[in-house]
């Protein structure tokens, strides 16, 4: 578990989680734009917008607290990346909104798990309250993605069949 010991540290990490989520969704939107998948481009831009709003909310809370200026390597993530950053290795040029939302769901669930675990282990009531707030926010995002997923049925197994594939057939 990431060991955050004060409010400033928590805010710095929470803000960074959102900033990296925004960057990642924007990268994905750019990829989809470049590959002419405009439906997913819009979806990723929308997700980036929501994360950006959350980042902004956190930033306003940061003015009163003593928030450290952390360098990229000083953030204490449990995994190889910040919890809400979508794994770029899971992207496919023909992916559907269903796939994109599955990735978003995983990212939101990871962010929720990060704050949830933290609020459970925190002993300081102020830190606990703030971690609670962040966990609830992420829970709302999870619910939002699940709601969005209702619009898209799981695609058939042949969703990635490309009549003109990049690898020439044997």
């Amino acid at each position: 578990m990431t060991n955050l010991t004060n409010i400033g540290d928590l805010l710095a990490h929470a803000y960074q989680i959102e900033i990296e989520a925004v960057e990642r969704y924007q990268m994905l939107a750019d990829q989809m734009e470049v590959h002419n998948n405009s439906e997913l481009e819009k979806l990723f831009r929308k997700l980036a917008y929501h994360e950006g709003q959350h980042a902004e909310e956190i930033r306003t809370q940061m003015t009163d607290a003593n928030v450290p200026e952390l360098k990229p390597g000083e953030f204490r993530w449990a995994g190889p990346d910040s919890p809400e950053a979508v794994d770029l290795g899971d992207i496919h040029y023909m992916m559907t909104p269903w796939h994109a939302l599955q990735l978003a769901l995983k990212a939101e669930q990871q962010a929720f798990a990060f704050f949830d675990e933290f609020r459970r282990s925190a002993s300081d009531p102020d830190i606990k309250r703030l971690a609670d707030e962040f966990a609830e926010e992420e829970e709302e995002h999870v619910a939002m993605v699940l709601k969005e997923l209702e619009k898209y049925p799981e695609p058939d197994d042949d969703w990635d069949d490309d009549p003109d594939p990049p690898v020439s057939p044997e």
């Binding site: 734009e33 990229p72 990346d81 290795g89 990049p166």
Partner: protein, 277 residues
């Protein structure tokens, strides 16, 4: 006060506005993140960094950064970069390359860049294939990799970049995985700070021509041993590993090559004249 001390740079400060055209899922996206993250960590000003490359998907990185860049000739990035670093030792010089660019056409430059030990960092995105030219086997491709362009596999023994780097005199040798952007950034920070020629092989899947490499994320593991400053020991370790050990393998103590820079006795106009047709 230096520029780096005066300004705290963010990762985004090193990214250009050019949208990458790599295939979605390509490992090189993560490498771009790791490089910009490492530069932000070090805090060097973007205008004090030069990113040099040859040709290939991986060699597109200079365009995607906000640093000075030179997208050069296939296989010749190290020669260009060495010239630049010797002439401008104040710059932080990174070279981004692929296994084709770096070990086929650029193989000879690789040997001599290690030997020469100019203070720069060579980042090779190894996907064991020529991505840009549509999937031909490269020097690091497994001998039995069966594809339309190499039916039954090449049957050739793969080139071992880390062993070659050690044998040729590189001063810092490491291997990382693109899917671990933080781990890669940490190693890059160390590689850039380490004096002399640093070589970092980044296993970076080509999801289009080597979809099997998506499995790499389940195959890589942190090397169970500490880095050494004994090149022979490092070479023995890496010769017998499974190809998926990650981490810093070797930190040497050789002094970088940096000749005295003379004062130019000719001005730019004179130089230009020599090239007039």
């Amino acid at each position: 006060m230096s520029k780096a001390q005066a300004v705290a740079y963010k990762q985004g400060d090193y990214k250009s506005k050019v949208k990458p055209i790599w295939c979605p899922g390509c490992g090189d996206y993560h490498v771009l993140i790791s490089i910009t993250r490492a530069l932000a960590e070090i805090g060097v000003a973007p205008e004090d960094v030069a990113v040099i490359s040859g040709i290939g998907c991986s060699s597109r990185i200079p365009a995607y950064t906000n640093c000075y860049g030179f997208h050069g000739v296939h296989g010749r990035s190290l020669a260009l970069a060495a010239g630049l670093k010797v002439a401008r030792p104040d710059l932080t010089v990174l070279i981004t390359s692929g296994d084709g660019d770096g070990f086929s056409i650029g193989g000879n430059h690789f040997l001599h860049a290690c030997r020469r030990n100019v203070d720069m960092t060579y980042i090779v995105m190894d996907n064991r294939v020529y991505g840009m030219t549509k999937g031909q086997p490269s020097p690091t491709t497994e001998p039995d990799w069966d594809s339309a362009l190499s039916p039954g596999g090449t049957g050739l023994r793969p080139f071992h970049p880390l062993v070659i780097a050690l044998a040729s005199g590189a001063n810092f040798v490491a291997r990382t995985f693109s899917g671990d952007p933080n781990g890669t950034a940490r190693v890059l920070v160390e590689a850039i700070r380490h004096p002399g020629f640093s070589f970092v092989e980044i296993l970076s899947p080509c999801v289009t021509f080597r979809p099997d490499e998506k499995e790499w994320k389940n195959m890589v593991h942190t090397a169970p041993v500490e880095p050494t400053d004994d090149a022979a020991r490092a070479a023995r370790r890496i010769m017998t590993d499974d190809g998926f050990n990650l981490g810093v393998l070797y930190r040497g103590h050789r002094a970088p090559y940096q000749p005295e820079i003379g004062t130019a006795s000719v001005d730019v106009a004179d130089l230009e004249e020599a090239f007039l047709l």
